[in-house]
């Protein structure tokens, strides 16, 4: 029902990925990302879910020898973002990312959030300050840091640092945001904060999240994809995947019999 009413923001078509050592980490993946929805990638360690996520902002291009095959089409412009002629920097300008461990720059809180704008040649101080405030509010961090924007980001707690990284990714108005196990280094309260945040963010953008935590996938996502050994085993809306999975492997993983 949901599928028919929502637009597709991006989709992977027959996506294969090879690491420089020749290992085929993704096998012919076909999967849509619905606009303003959260899609969760679950599966055991080494199943390729992070590899898949990092295809979306061409992170693999940073390391020589990695190879994509197939397409990731982004809508509405129908750009294949994996095409050699498409600059990975252009892709990263449209699709931002939050990493597993909080990785703020050793700069001030303000400069961390402003960095994406500086990279985009934004010079107007007023605009930068407004955008930083907006992003910090969007990441539910503003009230905690508004009086110490010039403190070093390292002085924040782990959960605050991760929300700072979300603000940094948010400040540039991305179309899609990627989360690579964003709460695996955080305590339960910080995790709950981030999950709540993600649910709010999807009003504005499309989210793809990798998670090790099944409950998290069930709580936050609209769609869930179960991956195993580089293959997409099952994809569907989250309720269906968690209550009536069609494949036995998915059911075994979700119920904790395996993985």
């Amino acid at each position: 029902m949901m599928n028919t009413t929502t637009a597709i923001k991006a989709e992977s078509r027959n996506l294969d990925f090879f690491y420089s050592n020749g290992h085929r980490a993704l096998k012919s993946i076909n999967m849509p990302l619905y606009e303003n929805k959260i899609t969760a990638l679950i599966g055991p360690s080494g199943c390729g879910k992070s590899t898949f996520l990092r295809c979306f902002n061409r992170m693999h291009d940073l390391y020589p020898g990695n190879k994509y095959q197939g397409q990731i089409i982004m809508h509405p412009d129908n750009t294949n973002i994996l095409e050699a002629g498409v600059d990975p920097i252009e892709v990263r300008m449209r699709i931002s990312m939050v990493f597993q461990k909080p990785n703020p720059f050793p700069k001030t809180i303000f400069e961390n959030v402003a960095y994406g704008l500086r990279v985009r040649d934004e010079k107007n101080k007023r605009t930068i300050a407004d955008k930083v405030e907006e992003a910090l509010k969007g990441a539910a961090l503003w009230n905690e840091v508004k009086d110490r924007l010039n403190d070093l980001a390292f002085n924040l707690s782990g959960g605050q640092q991760q929300r700072l990284c979300i603000a940094r990714a948010l400040a540039t108005d991305p179309e899609i945001m990627l989360f690579d196990e964003p709460t695996s280094a955080l305590d339960p309260i910080a995790t709950a904060n981030i999950e709540e945040l993600m649910s709010g963010l999807k009003e504005k953008l499309t989210i793809l999240v990798v998670t090790h935590n099944m409950q998290q996938a069930a709580r936050v996502s609209d769609y869930t994809a179960y991956m195993y050994l580089g293959e997409l085993m099952e994809y569907g809306d989250t309720d269906t995947i968690f209550t009536r999975p069609t494949r036995k492997e998915t059911e075994d993983y979700i119920t904790g019999k395996f993985g």
């Binding site: 902002n57 992170m59 940073l62 020589p64 920097i89 252009e90 990263r92 300008m93 931002s96 990312m97 990493f99 461990k101 990785n103 703020p104 720059f105 050793p106 960095y115 994406g116 500086r118 990279v119 985009r120 070093l152 390292f154 990284c165 940094r168 990714a169 540039t172």
Partner: protein, 317 residues
């Protein structure tokens, strides 16, 4: 009950005793190694301290301001270091201005831009090798290249460039090590918001590795200031009773580059010269100069450690 617990207790006790004996035996190795290490450290330190104290005791009559403001002289009593320390300072300026930009640029290129293949491996091995080439070889190279080839003469410029070349590998290697210390996560964070390679390098890599780079630069400079062999090879004078033209003038454009082509002497050469005189009085001057060179080196290395600490303090990965 009683009968069954007593033998069990006895075996636990004997086991425990065996374990304690074993731990004592293992810990003996800790003590033995710590003692060897301490002795080695003390030997190295004591040698240096003895040398320094000896130089200071020999040279202490010369520790006064006139020693720094007098030109060398035929009479040991009135001979001073003026031309030598000014020469050292000017040569160091040239060395700094050439070795730092070139070394940092080369190090950044090798680490960030160079494709990883057999050719860059070859360059890497050779850069490390260059750091071990005897300094007199650099002197010979400079004599052929700078003095005769480029016709720069036996000048401050030649000496500065030679020492710059000499410490280039040190700067390159320390730049690369400092850059390598930046976590992948920080680079990926910068790339992920859409930064280009140059934006990552100039906004992050250089900034966060400043401490390490600076340390390498200062250690390189402190090596250069004591270098004698290559400077002798390119033909520094040993007796100079005049100063090079001042780099700063009172008429526009207030800068003067004639000093670059002036002949010169430096501290270690002045020391070498005094040491080769037969009169004992000159040896006092030499000892005082030696103590000053060691002191300057210690100060520079101390600054390097302090700077590294200051800069690293705000960066925790």
């Amino acid at each position: 009950m009683q009968a069954s617990t007593t033998p069990a207790k006895a075996s636990v006790l004997s086991n425990l005793n065996a374990v304690r004996t074993m731990i004592r035996r293992h810990k003996r190795n800790d003590i033995i190694f710590a003692s060897i290490g301490l002795i080695a450290l003390m030997l190295a330190l004591l040698t240096l301290v003895t040398l320094f104290v000896d130089l200071v005791l020999d040279g202490y009559p010369k520790f006064n301001l006139t020693f720094f403001s007098d030109f060398p002289s035929r009479r040991a009593g009135s001979a001073g270091l003026l031309s030598a320390w000014v020469g050292s300072l000017l040569v160091m300026i040239v060395t700094f201005l050439t070795a730092v930009p070139m070394g940092v640029a080369a190090g950044l290129y090798l680490e960030e831009y160079a494709p990883k293949n057999w050719f860059s491996d070859l360059i890497e091995i050779n850069v490390s090798n260059l750091a071990g080439v005897p300094s007199i070889i650099y002197g010979l190279l400079a004599l052929g290249l700078f003095v005769y080839g480029l016709d720069l003469g036996q000048s401050i410029l030649t000496a500065g460039l030679t020492l710059g070349l000499l410490i280039l590998p040190i700067v390159i290697v320390s730049t690369r090590e400092a850059v390598r210390g930046i976590p992948v996560a920080i680079r990926e964070a910068a790339y992920a918001v859409g930064a280009t390679k140059w934006q990552v390098v100039s906004d992050h890599v250089v900034k966060y590795s400043q401490g390490g780079i600076l340390t390498g630069v200062i250690i390189g400079m402190s090596r250069a200031i004591g270098e004698t062999a290559p400077i002798i090879t390119i033909g520094a004078l040993t007796f100079i009773a005049f100063l090079p033209p001042s780099p700063i003038t009172d008429v526009a454009p207030y800068l003067n580059f004639e000093w670059l082509s002036a002949s010169f002497t430096v501290l270690p050469i002045q020391m070498f010269n005094w040491l080769s005189r037969p009169e004992h009085a000159f040896h006092i001057n030499a000892a005082a100069t030696g103590a000053i060179i060691i002191l300057v080196t210690l100060l520079m290395n101390g600054t390097a450690i302090w700077l590294r600490y200051k800069i690293r303090k705000n960066i925790k990965w």
